[in-house]
């Protein structure tokens, strides 16, 4: 199980080009279910999911999300529920909700990959416009869109070139010396 999980982590890629093949409702529900298991600060669980499969709504979402290169068959909009935060007396300046969005995002990306789907995050959006498109209630702040679909062949993907790094490049063992 460990090898399978580690392989899943290492082979996941952000998918920016998707086919128009629909995503099965069951798969989408499994991704949503995976998202609920993501760790959240203080176990507050302030992240809410808005799942979108309606083609006109997806088109509208894309129109107000300049970072959405994909034309996804489905999207999950991750929102912070401010009512849930206030119920826990969380400070508005507390960065924890942003971490919760991150853990939820990664969990969903891995779940999609495990199901053989492609997924990619989009955070470059006009969130006020996203709120209008989805008619979100005032307590929900949209923070991230998880685009989901079937990945186009690798040769059609947009390569994002970056220097190769290993964990050793990123890691320092123990306390830094003064020198």
């Amino acid at each position: 199980m460990a090898e399978a999980m580690l392989d899943l982590i290492a082979t996941r890629r952000v998918v920016r080009v998707m086919t128009d093949q629909p995503v099965a409702r069951e798969d989408l529900e499994r991704i949503l279910d995976a998202g609920r298991w993501a760790p959240t600060g203080g176990n507050v669980r302030s992240v809410r999911f808005v799942a979108v499969v309606d083609a006109p709504t997806l088109r509208l979402l894309r129109m107000v999300s300049p970072g959405m290169f994909q034309r996804p068959a489905a999207a999950i909009v991750l929102c912070i529920d401010r009512d849930a935060l206030e119920a826990e007396r969380e400070s508005r300046t507390d960065p924890t909700p942003a971490y919760d969005i991150g853990t939820t995002l990664q969990t969903m990306l891995l779940a999609a990959h495990a199901l053989g789907l492609g997924a990619g995050p989009v955070s470059s959006c006009a969130w006020a416009a996203v709120s209008v498109v989805l008619n979100l209630p005032d307590n929900l702040d949209p923070r991230m869109i998880v685009c989901i679909g079937h990945a186009a062949p690798p040769k059609e993907q947009l390569p994002m070139r970056a220097p190769k790094v290993t964990w050793r490049d990123l890691t320092h063992w123990e306390r830094f010396s003064d020198a």
């Binding site: 129109m63 300049p66 970072g67 470059s124 006009a126 947009l158 994002m160 070139r161 970056a162």
Partner: protein, 107 residues
């Protein structure tokens, strides 16, 4: 030469308007370098929407610069390469502008 009003449908105009307007807002939160990428994306989107409807000279410009533009989109992480590629695109565009709108050579 096609009439400008036939180049884009009203829906296409609205989509491009929305992209630019929402980019103006989202860029306040995004890394500064993304602004260039968004404008390049908008230029490519405009090109792709009209390329079948423009005259032969403009079509030639669009077709000639398309591979370079695609190359730029995949090298945004390398500032030097990205900058040089955009310079190349701008120079090609300028040559087209001079050819199309420039007056006779003087001197």
């Amino acid at each position: 030469m096609p009439d400008a009003t036939t180049l884009l449908t009203e829906d296409e105009v609205i989509e491009l308007f929305a992209f630019l307007m929402t980019s103006a807002r989202s860029q306040l939160d995004d890394p500064c370098a993304y602004a260039s990428m968004r404008l390049l994306t908008a230029a490519e989107d405009l090109r792709d929407r009209v390329i079948e409807r423009v005259g032969p000279e403009a079509r030639e410009l669009f077709e000639q610069t398309r591979p370079t533009s695609a190359f730029a989109q995949t090298h945004t992480n390398d500032v030097a390469v990205y900058t040089a590629t955009l310079d190349e695109l701008c120079a090609a565009t300028a040559r087209f502008l001079v050819e199309r709108f420039g007056g006779p050579d003087v001197g």
